[in-house]
Amino acid sequence: MPAPPARARENAPRASVQRPTAPRPSTGPTPRNARRLARALLPWVVPAALLVIWQTGSSSGLIPPATLPALSDVIDAGTYLAETGDLQRNVLISLRRIAIGFALGATAGLLLGFAVGMSAIAEGLFDRSLQMVRTIPHLALVPLMIAWFGIGELPKVLLVALGTLFPVYLNTVNGIRGVDPRLIELGRSYGLGPLGVIRRVVVPGALPSILTGIRYALGVAWLTLVVAETIASRDGIGFLAQNAREQLRTDQIVLAILLYALAGFLADLLVRLVERFALPWHPHFRRGAAT
């Protein structure tokens, strides 16, 4: 039987005395478009509500500027930084660090994840060690990173790589363990070599989980960058945040936070696109679930 709808909302009444005709809402284009619009707007309800509460709270004086600067002040701070070109420059520099660090960390995480997920020996050798290294805070590592790798780009990028490695690693291992062993057996019986099994069976089967790891890692990359950009740097939005903090500029601190949220939004968008493209067979992405 075909895979049925996966969601609770689609739980049709199971055995009503009379089940009425349910013509698909494909008759008129208007209700469908309205529904589509509602679906597209839904994710913005919470952020918009927060922004409105914030601004009215600030302008009415309910939220004192010491607690949270007014939204307009934050926008001013952003405009000023954008006009001087600082904002763009810092964002680009941070993006570069993220890109390199993420590429390194995600690659290492994937390789280790596949090794550990596919081989019991690799699991025995590496898993425990990685689980132990995982809990070491980046902040605590900074002094050692400086001692070992100096104060240039290297320690910054390495910290980002370290931060992204673990979520990718853990979710890759989890994804591989979740692949139906009968399908792996099938692949093997049908003459796929070890690499073929990985490529045709393990990777697609583990992909949803791996993408969850990558999605999370894209967030962690930004988190780590803030720590990394406290290492003797005068650029990047981590430095912006840090500097704003030192100079007691709450408006810029909040600006940096909004920038991070924006980065999160974009990272999320990217992964959603990849998911849609890479998982056309997955029930969640086939049933036209919420965008």
């Binding site: 039987m1 075909p2 049925p4 049709a12 055995a15 009503s16 005395v17 089940r19 009425p20 698909r24």
Partner: protein
Amino acid sequence: MSATGTAVRLRALAKTYASPVLRDLDLDVAPGAFVSLIGASGTGKSTLLRLVAGLERPDGGRIGLTRPDGGTPRVRPMFQEDRLLPWLRVEANVRLGLEREGADHVPALIDAVGLADRHRAWPSDLSGGQRQRVALARALAHRPDLLLLDEPFGALDALTRVRMQELLEGLWTSSGATVLLVTHDVDEALALSDRVLVLAEGRITRDLAVDLPRPRRRGDARIAAWRGELLDELLAHGTPLG
């Protein structure tokens, strides 16, 4: 068993996936009837069962399920695949959805499907036929008013199959439930049911009343004749292989 036969009434039922599967299908099943549905692979038998079970929305038409006493009918589908929950042992799978008090008959049922000594096994440790029997026991355990069976004996050898048929027939007789059975075995359909329906081209193209007393003998001449008729009916519409 306390089941109450349920009447099924389908009117102008239509369902389309990439291409139309069911179109304008009408069907009435009396409460307590045992109806078999046969048809070539891919003609929409499972789809019809899923529609009746309320698991799929029709693209048109009406589905009415009525219990004579006015209550809400208890419908239980047994799916074409076994759908055992991997994290529940055999007995827990059979008990699924039953209250603790209402499950006293479960051990007997597990015994009846020949799995008494495997009741603590994980589904992944069972053979194909064993898994199918667990799924059958689970469907029967609920004492449904309307039982929808999608090829429930497909993975069983000839002898086990006969035992399972006897089990089903016995429970049906004592319970009065309505049974809708999809099968690819014409003999099975003729041995068990009051009516045999042939599904082809999205409609019921043949509705054969099997008015023989039970238990039925395999060798009966009328059965052999009907068998030929039904196969001819199937052949007339062609298999998907042309």
